[in-house]
Protein backbone atom coordinates (compact mmCIF):
# COMPACT_ATOMS: atom_id res chain seq x y z
CA UNK A 1 0.00 0.00 0.00
CA UNK A 2 1.22 3.49 -0.84
CA UNK A 3 0.42 6.56 1.23
CA UNK A 4 -3.06 8.01 1.10
CA UNK A 5 -3.59 11.07 -1.10
CA UNK A 6 -6.00 12.44 1.52
CA UNK A 7 -8.49 13.39 -1.13
CA UNK A 8 -12.25 13.20 -0.97
CA UNK A 9 -14.58 12.25 -3.79
CA UNK A 10 -17.07 14.77 -5.12
CA UNK A 11 -20.62 14.05 -3.94
CA UNK A 12 -22.34 12.24 -6.79
CA UNK A 13 -25.06 14.10 -8.64
CA UNK A 14 -28.72 13.12 -8.54
CA UNK A 15 -31.50 14.41 -10.75
CA UNK A 16 -33.14 17.68 -9.76
CA UNK A 17 -36.47 15.89 -10.21
CA UNK A 18 -39.85 17.27 -11.19
CA UNK A 19 -40.19 19.55 -8.18
CA UNK A 20 -36.88 21.42 -8.33
CA UNK A 21 -38.79 24.71 -8.38
CA UNK A 22 -39.96 24.18 -4.81
CA UNK A 23 -36.37 24.76 -3.77
CA UNK A 24 -35.24 27.26 -6.38
CA UNK A 25 -38.37 29.17 -7.39
CA UNK A 26 -40.91 28.60 -4.62
CA UNK A 27 -42.89 31.74 -5.41
CA UNK A 28 -43.28 30.53 -8.99
CA UNK A 29 -44.95 27.34 -7.72
CA UNK A 30 -47.19 29.27 -5.32
CA UNK A 31 -45.19 28.64 -2.17
CA UNK A 32 -45.34 32.22 -1.03
CA UNK A 33 -44.23 33.96 2.12
CA UNK A 34 -41.11 31.87 2.73
CA UNK A 35 -38.90 34.40 0.97
CA UNK A 36 -39.79 37.44 -0.99
CA UNK A 37 -38.36 36.94 -4.46
CA UNK A 38 -36.88 33.93 -6.18
CA UNK A 39 -33.17 34.34 -6.91
CA UNK A 40 -31.83 35.07 -10.36
CA UNK A 41 -34.94 36.44 -12.08
CA UNK A 42 -33.56 39.92 -12.75
CA UNK A 43 -30.08 40.49 -14.17
CA UNK A 44 -30.24 44.03 -15.48
CA UNK A 45 -30.97 47.27 -13.64
CA UNK A 46 -31.04 50.89 -14.80
CA UNK A 47 -27.34 51.35 -14.01
CA UNK A 48 -26.07 48.19 -15.68
CA UNK A 49 -23.63 48.96 -18.47
CA UNK A 50 -23.92 47.30 -21.84
CA UNK A 51 -26.25 46.46 -24.69
CA UNK A 52 -29.60 45.10 -23.53
CA UNK A 53 -30.50 41.81 -25.14
CA UNK A 54 -33.02 39.02 -24.70
CA UNK A 55 -32.04 35.39 -24.87
CA UNK A 56 -34.70 32.74 -25.12
CA UNK A 57 -35.32 29.25 -26.32
CA UNK A 58 -36.53 25.80 -25.42
CA UNK A 59 -34.93 22.66 -24.08
CA UNK A 60 -36.04 19.85 -26.40
CA UNK A 61 -35.97 16.12 -25.71
CA UNK A 62 -35.16 13.24 -28.05
CA UNK A 63 -38.78 13.02 -29.24
CA UNK A 64 -38.87 16.70 -30.16
CA UNK A 65 -40.93 17.80 -27.18
CA UNK A 66 -39.94 20.87 -25.14
CA UNK A 67 -39.24 20.28 -21.45
CA UNK A 68 -41.79 22.13 -19.38
CA UNK A 69 -40.21 21.23 -16.06
CA UNK A 70 -36.58 22.24 -16.63
CA UNK A 71 -34.50 24.85 -14.85
CA UNK A 72 -32.00 26.95 -16.78
CA UNK A 73 -29.16 28.91 -15.20
CA UNK A 74 -26.86 31.34 -16.98
CA UNK A 75 -23.48 32.77 -15.97
CA UNK A 76 -21.75 35.45 -17.99
CA UNK A 77 -19.22 38.26 -18.02
CA UNK A 78 -20.20 41.92 -17.98
CA UNK A 79 -20.09 44.17 -21.03
CA UNK A 80 -16.34 44.65 -20.65
CA UNK A 81 -15.61 40.93 -20.28
CA UNK A 82 -15.14 40.80 -16.50
CA UNK A 83 -16.85 38.33 -14.19
CA UNK A 84 -18.47 39.59 -11.01
CA UNK A 85 -16.69 36.98 -8.90
CA UNK A 86 -13.93 36.96 -6.26
CA UNK A 87 -12.03 34.66 -8.62
CA UNK A 88 -11.83 37.45 -11.20
CA UNK A 89 -8.30 38.87 -10.80
CA UNK A 90 -7.95 40.92 -13.99
CA UNK A 91 -10.07 43.87 -12.96
CA UNK A 92 -13.34 44.92 -11.40
CA UNK A 93 -16.62 43.95 -12.96
CA UNK A 94 -19.62 46.27 -13.28
CA UNK A 95 -21.04 46.41 -9.72
CA UNK A 96 -24.54 46.69 -11.19
CA UNK A 97 -24.35 43.37 -12.98
CA UNK A 98 -24.17 40.07 -11.12
CA UNK A 99 -24.02 37.99 -14.29
CA UNK A 100 -25.98 35.05 -12.93
CA UNK A 101 -29.59 34.29 -13.79
CA UNK A 102 -32.04 31.47 -13.31
CA UNK A 103 -35.40 30.78 -14.93
CA UNK A 104 -37.75 27.84 -15.10
CA UNK A 105 -38.93 26.85 -18.56
CA UNK A 106 -42.53 27.91 -19.08
CA UNK A 107 -45.08 25.37 -17.86
CA UNK A 108 -47.05 25.61 -21.12
CA UNK A 109 -44.68 26.56 -23.93
CA UNK A 110 -41.44 25.25 -22.45
CA UNK A 111 -39.66 28.51 -23.25
CA UNK A 112 -36.99 30.07 -21.05
CA UNK A 113 -36.26 33.76 -21.31
CA UNK A 114 -33.67 36.14 -19.85
CA UNK A 115 -33.23 39.86 -20.22
CA UNK A 116 -29.53 40.52 -19.90
CA UNK A 117 -26.67 42.36 -21.57
CA UNK A 118 -24.30 41.28 -24.29
CA UNK A 119 -21.14 39.97 -22.58
CA UNK A 120 -17.66 41.16 -23.53
CA UNK A 121 -14.85 38.87 -24.59
CA UNK A 122 -12.99 36.82 -22.00
CA UNK A 123 -9.52 35.33 -22.53
CA UNK A 124 -8.99 31.61 -22.97
CA UNK A 125 -6.37 29.89 -20.80
CA UNK A 126 -3.59 30.90 -23.18
CA UNK A 127 -4.71 34.52 -23.41
CA UNK A 128 -6.40 34.40 -26.80
CA UNK A 129 -9.86 35.98 -26.67
CA UNK A 130 -12.86 33.70 -26.64
CA UNK A 131 -15.90 34.94 -28.54
CA UNK A 132 -18.67 36.49 -26.42
CA UNK A 133 -20.62 33.69 -24.80
CA UNK A 134 -22.99 32.85 -22.00
CA UNK A 135 -22.54 29.67 -19.97
CA UNK A 136 -25.76 27.69 -19.62
CA UNK A 137 -26.48 24.96 -17.10
CA UNK A 138 -29.60 22.81 -17.39
CA UNK A 139 -31.19 20.52 -14.85
CA UNK A 140 -34.51 18.71 -14.92
CA UNK A 141 -36.28 15.47 -14.16
CA UNK A 142 -34.56 12.77 -16.20
CA UNK A 143 -31.22 14.63 -16.30
CA UNK A 144 -28.91 12.78 -13.91
CA UNK A 145 -26.16 15.37 -13.87
CA UNK A 146 -26.46 19.04 -14.86
CA UNK A 147 -25.57 19.78 -18.49
CA UNK A 148 -23.13 22.58 -19.31
CA UNK A 149 -23.22 24.30 -22.65
CA UNK A 150 -22.49 27.76 -24.07
CA UNK A 151 -24.54 30.21 -26.04
CA UNK A 152 -22.57 32.04 -28.72
CA UNK A 153 -23.94 34.83 -30.89
CA UNK A 154 -24.41 33.96 -34.58
CA UNK A 155 -23.84 37.59 -35.61
CA UNK A 156 -20.31 37.60 -34.11
CA UNK A 157 -18.78 35.90 -37.14
CA UNK A 158 -15.28 37.31 -36.71
CA UNK A 159 -15.00 36.63 -32.98
CA UNK A 160 -16.55 33.19 -33.39
CA UNK A 161 -14.04 32.29 -36.12
CA UNK A 162 -11.19 33.20 -33.72
CA UNK A 163 -12.63 31.52 -30.63
CA UNK A 164 -10.35 28.74 -29.37
CA UNK A 165 -13.30 26.86 -27.85
CA UNK A 166 -15.46 26.91 -30.97
CA UNK A 167 -12.30 26.03 -32.89
CA UNK A 168 -12.16 22.70 -31.11
CA UNK A 169 -15.37 21.55 -32.75
CA UNK A 170 -14.39 20.21 -36.15
CA UNK A 171 -17.86 19.39 -37.39
CA UNK A 172 -19.61 22.55 -38.57
CA UNK A 173 -23.09 21.28 -37.87
CA UNK A 174 -22.09 20.44 -34.30
CA UNK A 175 -20.43 23.81 -33.86
CA UNK A 176 -23.53 25.58 -35.12
CA UNK A 177 -25.60 24.07 -32.32
CA UNK A 178 -23.92 26.65 -30.06
CA UNK A 179 -24.94 29.67 -32.13
CA UNK A 180 -27.98 31.69 -31.11
CA UNK A 181 -29.76 33.35 -34.01
CA UNK A 182 -30.57 37.04 -33.83
CA UNK A 183 -34.06 38.48 -34.09
CA UNK A 184 -35.85 41.38 -32.48
CA UNK A 185 -38.39 41.75 -29.69
CA UNK A 186 -39.76 45.05 -28.35
CA UNK A 187 -36.95 46.90 -30.08
CA UNK A 188 -34.28 44.77 -28.41
CA UNK A 189 -32.02 42.23 -30.04
CA UNK A 190 -33.48 38.84 -29.16
CA UNK A 191 -31.34 35.74 -29.55
CA UNK A 192 -32.99 32.35 -29.85
CA UNK A 193 -31.05 29.40 -28.51
CA UNK A 194 -32.84 26.05 -28.54
CA UNK A 195 -31.07 23.30 -26.66
CA UNK A 196 -31.51 19.80 -28.07
CA UNK A 197 -30.75 17.11 -25.53
CA UNK A 198 -30.65 14.23 -27.96
CA UNK A 199 -30.98 13.19 -31.58
CA UNK A 200 -30.72 15.30 -34.69
CA UNK A 201 -29.04 18.61 -33.97
CA UNK A 202 -28.00 17.52 -30.47
CA UNK A 203 -26.40 20.48 -28.72
CA UNK A 204 -22.73 20.27 -27.82
CA UNK A 205 -22.37 19.78 -24.07
CA UNK A 206 -19.08 20.27 -22.27
CA UNK A 207 -17.09 18.39 -19.69
CA UNK A 208 -15.61 21.32 -17.82
Amino acid sequence: MAQSLDQLKESPSQTAGPYVHIGTNPNWVEITGVWEADLGLVLVGPETRGERIIIKGRVIDGAGAPLRDALVEIWQADAAGFYNSPQERRGKADPHFVGWGRQPTDGTTGEYRFETIKPGRVPFTDGRPMAPHITIWIVARGINIGLHTRLYFADEEVANAECPVLGRIDNNARRNTLLASRGEENGLPAYTFDIRLQGEGETVFFDI
Binding site: A77, S85, G142
Partner: protein, 241 residues
Protein backbone atom coordinates in the same frame (compact mmCIF):
# COMPACT_ATOMS: atom_id res chain seq x y z
CA UNK B 1 -2.17 31.38 -5.58
CA UNK B 2 -3.72 28.30 -4.07
CA UNK B 3 -7.26 29.30 -4.96
CA UNK B 4 -6.47 30.10 -8.56
CA UNK B 5 -5.74 26.64 -9.92
CA UNK B 6 -8.08 24.78 -12.22
CA UNK B 7 -10.47 22.16 -10.90
CA UNK B 8 -9.72 18.46 -10.91
CA UNK B 9 -11.43 16.59 -13.68
CA UNK B 10 -14.88 15.42 -12.74
CA UNK B 11 -14.89 11.64 -12.20
CA UNK B 12 -17.71 10.73 -14.56
CA UNK B 13 -17.61 7.11 -13.40
CA UNK B 14 -18.54 8.23 -9.88
CA UNK B 15 -21.52 10.26 -11.09
CA UNK B 16 -24.53 8.70 -12.79
CA UNK B 17 -24.29 8.49 -16.58
CA UNK B 18 -26.86 10.39 -18.63
CA UNK B 19 -28.61 7.31 -20.00
CA UNK B 20 -30.07 5.08 -17.30
CA UNK B 21 -33.06 3.16 -18.71
CA UNK B 22 -34.27 1.98 -15.29
CA UNK B 23 -35.07 5.66 -14.72
CA UNK B 24 -37.33 6.01 -17.72
CA UNK B 25 -37.38 9.79 -18.08
CA UNK B 26 -33.63 9.75 -18.73
CA UNK B 27 -34.14 7.79 -21.96
CA UNK B 28 -35.22 10.81 -24.02
CA UNK B 29 -33.32 13.39 -21.99
CA UNK B 30 -29.82 11.96 -22.25
CA UNK B 31 -27.30 13.32 -24.77
CA UNK B 32 -25.83 10.59 -26.99
CA UNK B 33 -22.73 12.41 -28.17
CA UNK B 34 -19.64 12.36 -26.00
CA UNK B 35 -19.19 15.48 -23.91
CA UNK B 36 -16.65 17.89 -25.39
CA UNK B 37 -13.72 18.14 -22.99
CA UNK B 38 -13.20 21.82 -22.33
CA UNK B 39 -11.60 21.96 -18.91
CA UNK B 40 -11.68 25.26 -17.09
CA UNK B 41 -11.51 28.71 -18.57
CA UNK B 42 -12.35 31.81 -16.57
CA UNK B 43 -15.98 31.22 -17.45
CA UNK B 44 -15.96 28.01 -15.40
CA UNK B 45 -13.52 29.08 -12.66
CA UNK B 46 -15.63 32.05 -11.62
CA UNK B 47 -19.09 31.99 -10.09
CA UNK B 48 -21.73 34.12 -8.41
CA UNK B 49 -21.55 35.07 -4.73
CA UNK B 50 -24.57 35.06 -2.47
CA UNK B 51 -24.34 37.23 0.63
CA UNK B 52 -25.79 36.34 4.02
CA UNK B 53 -27.94 39.47 3.62
CA UNK B 54 -29.98 37.57 1.02
CA UNK B 55 -31.30 35.22 3.69
CA UNK B 56 -34.13 35.66 6.16
CA UNK B 57 -34.08 34.31 9.74
CA UNK B 58 -36.49 31.44 8.96
CA UNK B 59 -34.92 30.40 5.67
CA UNK B 60 -33.26 27.42 7.35
CA UNK B 61 -36.25 26.51 9.52
CA UNK B 62 -38.72 24.44 7.50
CA UNK B 63 -40.73 23.79 10.66
CA UNK B 64 -41.59 27.47 10.93
CA UNK B 65 -41.05 29.13 7.56
CA UNK B 66 -44.45 28.16 6.15
CA UNK B 67 -46.33 27.55 9.40
CA UNK B 68 -49.89 28.95 9.26
CA UNK B 69 -51.83 27.44 12.14
CA UNK B 70 -49.11 25.52 13.99
CA UNK B 71 -46.13 23.27 13.41
CA UNK B 72 -46.15 20.73 10.57
CA UNK B 73 -46.84 17.07 11.34
CA UNK B 74 -43.84 14.76 11.41
CA UNK B 75 -40.58 13.70 12.98
CA UNK B 76 -38.64 16.83 13.92
CA UNK B 77 -35.05 16.65 12.68
CA UNK B 78 -31.97 18.81 12.37
CA UNK B 79 -29.79 18.33 9.30
CA UNK B 80 -26.27 19.67 9.59
CA UNK B 81 -22.89 19.17 8.04
CA UNK B 82 -20.11 20.78 6.13
CA UNK B 83 -19.45 21.64 2.54
CA UNK B 84 -15.90 20.58 1.70
CA UNK B 85 -13.87 20.38 -1.47
CA UNK B 86 -11.99 17.33 -2.72
CA UNK B 87 -8.90 18.58 -0.87
CA UNK B 88 -10.96 18.28 2.35
CA UNK B 89 -10.94 22.05 2.80
CA UNK B 90 -14.11 23.79 3.94
CA UNK B 91 -16.05 25.81 1.39
CA UNK B 92 -17.29 28.97 3.14
CA UNK B 93 -20.05 31.11 1.67
CA UNK B 94 -21.64 28.24 -0.26
CA UNK B 95 -25.35 28.70 -0.91
CA UNK B 96 -27.39 25.56 -0.25
CA UNK B 97 -31.01 25.32 -1.31
CA UNK B 98 -33.05 22.33 -0.19
CA UNK B 99 -36.52 21.01 -0.90
CA UNK B 100 -38.49 17.98 0.16
CA UNK B 101 -41.85 16.25 0.54
CA UNK B 102 -43.82 16.47 3.78
CA UNK B 103 -44.03 13.71 6.40
CA UNK B 104 -46.61 11.86 4.29
CA UNK B 105 -44.44 11.95 1.17
CA UNK B 106 -46.41 14.71 -0.55
CA UNK B 107 -44.84 17.71 -2.26
CA UNK B 108 -46.54 21.08 -2.32
CA UNK B 109 -46.62 21.37 -6.12
CA UNK B 110 -49.43 21.74 -8.62
CA UNK B 111 -48.21 18.80 -10.71
CA UNK B 112 -48.01 16.44 -7.74
CA UNK B 113 -50.81 13.86 -7.68
CA UNK B 114 -50.03 11.52 -4.78
CA UNK B 115 -53.05 10.93 -2.52
CA UNK B 116 -51.16 11.65 0.71
CA UNK B 117 -52.39 14.82 2.39
CA UNK B 118 -50.91 18.28 1.92
CA UNK B 119 -49.73 19.66 5.24
CA UNK B 120 -51.10 23.21 5.59
CA UNK B 121 -48.09 24.16 7.69
CA UNK B 122 -45.33 22.81 5.50
CA UNK B 123 -43.90 24.45 2.37
CA UNK B 124 -40.90 22.18 1.93
CA UNK B 125 -38.17 24.65 0.93
CA UNK B 126 -35.27 26.30 2.67
CA UNK B 127 -31.76 27.59 2.21
CA UNK B 128 -28.56 28.32 4.08
CA UNK B 129 -25.08 29.72 3.48
CA UNK B 130 -22.07 27.95 4.94
CA UNK B 131 -20.01 29.72 7.61
CA UNK B 132 -16.23 30.19 7.59
CA UNK B 133 -15.74 26.51 8.46
CA UNK B 134 -18.10 25.39 5.70
CA UNK B 135 -20.83 24.49 8.20
CA UNK B 136 -24.57 24.70 7.64
CA UNK B 137 -27.65 23.50 9.48
CA UNK B 138 -31.38 23.53 9.10
CA UNK B 139 -34.42 22.28 10.93
CA UNK B 140 -37.21 20.39 9.24
CA UNK B 141 -39.45 17.33 9.52
CA UNK B 142 -38.39 13.99 8.13
CA UNK B 143 -39.89 13.52 4.67
CA UNK B 144 -41.95 10.43 3.87
CA UNK B 145 -41.36 7.91 1.10
CA UNK B 146 -43.67 8.17 -1.90
CA UNK B 147 -44.67 6.29 -5.05
CA UNK B 148 -43.85 7.71 -8.45
CA UNK B 149 -44.72 6.87 -12.02
CA UNK B 150 -41.78 4.90 -13.37
CA UNK B 151 -42.19 1.19 -12.85
CA UNK B 152 -45.73 0.20 -11.90
CA UNK B 153 -44.82 0.14 -8.22
CA UNK B 154 -41.70 2.23 -7.71
CA UNK B 155 -41.21 4.21 -4.52
CA UNK B 156 -38.64 6.82 -3.66
CA UNK B 157 -36.84 6.43 -0.33
CA UNK B 158 -37.17 9.40 2.02
CA UNK B 159 -34.85 12.10 0.74
CA UNK B 160 -34.04 15.80 0.72
CA UNK B 161 -32.90 17.52 -2.47
CA UNK B 162 -29.86 19.82 -2.31
CA UNK B 163 -28.68 22.46 -4.76
CA UNK B 164 -25.18 23.75 -4.05
CA UNK B 165 -23.21 26.75 -5.31
CA UNK B 166 -19.52 26.68 -4.45
CA UNK B 167 -17.05 29.35 -5.46
CA UNK B 168 -17.05 28.57 -9.17
CA UNK B 169 -19.64 27.58 -11.72
CA UNK B 170 -17.55 24.43 -12.33
CA UNK B 171 -18.61 23.26 -8.84
CA UNK B 172 -22.36 23.63 -9.42
CA UNK B 173 -24.11 20.54 -8.13
CA UNK B 174 -27.57 19.18 -7.43
CA UNK B 175 -27.92 16.00 -5.43
CA UNK B 176 -30.11 14.22 -2.88
CA UNK B 177 -29.64 13.19 0.73
CA UNK B 178 -30.91 9.86 2.03
CA UNK B 179 -31.34 8.61 5.60
CA UNK B 180 -29.20 6.01 7.34
CA UNK B 181 -30.80 2.61 7.66
CA UNK B 182 -33.51 3.03 5.02
CA UNK B 183 -33.80 -0.26 3.07
CA UNK B 184 -35.62 1.53 0.24
CA UNK B 185 -32.42 3.30 -0.78
CA UNK B 186 -31.28 0.05 -2.37
CA UNK B 187 -34.54 -0.46 -4.29
CA UNK B 188 -34.69 2.96 -5.96
CA UNK B 189 -34.18 3.35 -9.74
CA UNK B 190 -32.91 6.92 -9.25
CA UNK B 191 -30.41 6.02 -6.53
CA UNK B 192 -29.20 3.15 -8.69
CA UNK B 193 -28.30 5.51 -11.54
CA UNK B 194 -25.13 5.94 -9.45
CA UNK B 195 -22.95 3.00 -10.47
CA UNK B 196 -20.74 2.70 -7.39
CA UNK B 197 -22.05 1.59 -3.99
CA UNK B 198 -19.47 3.71 -2.18
CA UNK B 199 -20.68 6.76 -4.11
CA UNK B 200 -24.27 6.04 -3.05
CA UNK B 201 -23.15 5.72 0.56
CA UNK B 202 -21.70 9.22 0.26
CA UNK B 203 -25.29 10.48 -0.05
CA UNK B 204 -26.59 8.72 3.08
CA UNK B 205 -26.76 11.03 6.08
CA UNK B 206 -25.68 9.50 9.38
CA UNK B 207 -27.98 9.53 12.39
CA UNK B 208 -26.10 11.80 14.79
CA UNK B 209 -27.14 11.16 18.38
CA UNK B 210 -24.66 13.70 19.72
CA UNK B 211 -26.29 16.42 17.62
CA UNK B 212 -29.76 15.34 18.72
CA UNK B 213 -31.68 17.79 20.91
CA UNK B 214 -33.14 16.00 23.98
CA UNK B 215 -36.94 15.94 23.99
CA UNK B 216 -36.95 17.89 20.72
CA UNK B 217 -35.34 16.75 17.45
CA UNK B 218 -33.18 13.99 16.01
CA UNK B 219 -30.07 15.05 14.11
CA UNK B 220 -28.59 13.80 10.84
CA UNK B 221 -25.13 14.71 9.60
CA UNK B 222 -24.70 15.25 5.88
CA UNK B 223 -21.42 16.48 4.42
CA UNK B 224 -21.25 17.55 0.80
CA UNK B 225 -18.07 17.47 -1.27
CA UNK B 226 -17.58 19.82 -4.21
CA UNK B 227 -14.83 19.67 -6.79
CA UNK B 228 -11.38 20.69 -5.57
CA UNK B 229 -8.77 22.71 -7.39
CA UNK B 230 -5.09 22.37 -8.04
CA UNK B 231 -2.76 24.34 -5.84
CA UNK B 232 0.54 23.78 -7.62
CA UNK B 233 2.50 26.76 -8.82
CA UNK B 234 3.69 24.72 -11.75
CA UNK B 235 0.46 24.34 -13.62
CA UNK B 236 0.69 24.53 -17.37
CA UNK B 237 -2.10 26.85 -18.44
CA UNK B 238 -1.52 26.62 -22.17
CA UNK B 239 -4.10 25.42 -24.61
CA UNK B 240 -4.82 21.73 -24.28
CA UNK B 241 -4.67 21.85 -20.54
Amino acid sequence: MSDQGSFYQRDRGWHPPAYTPQYKTSVLRSPQHALLSLGNTLSEMTGPVFGHDKLGPLDNDLIRNYARTGDPIGQRIIVHGRVLDENARPVPGALLEFWQANAGGRYRHRREGYIAAIDPNFGGCGRAITDHEGRYEFRTIKPGAYPWPNGVNDWRPAHIHFSVFGQAFAQRLITQMYFEGDPMIWQCPIVSTIPDRAAIEQLIAALDRSGTLPMDALAYKFDIVLRGRRSTLFENRMEGN
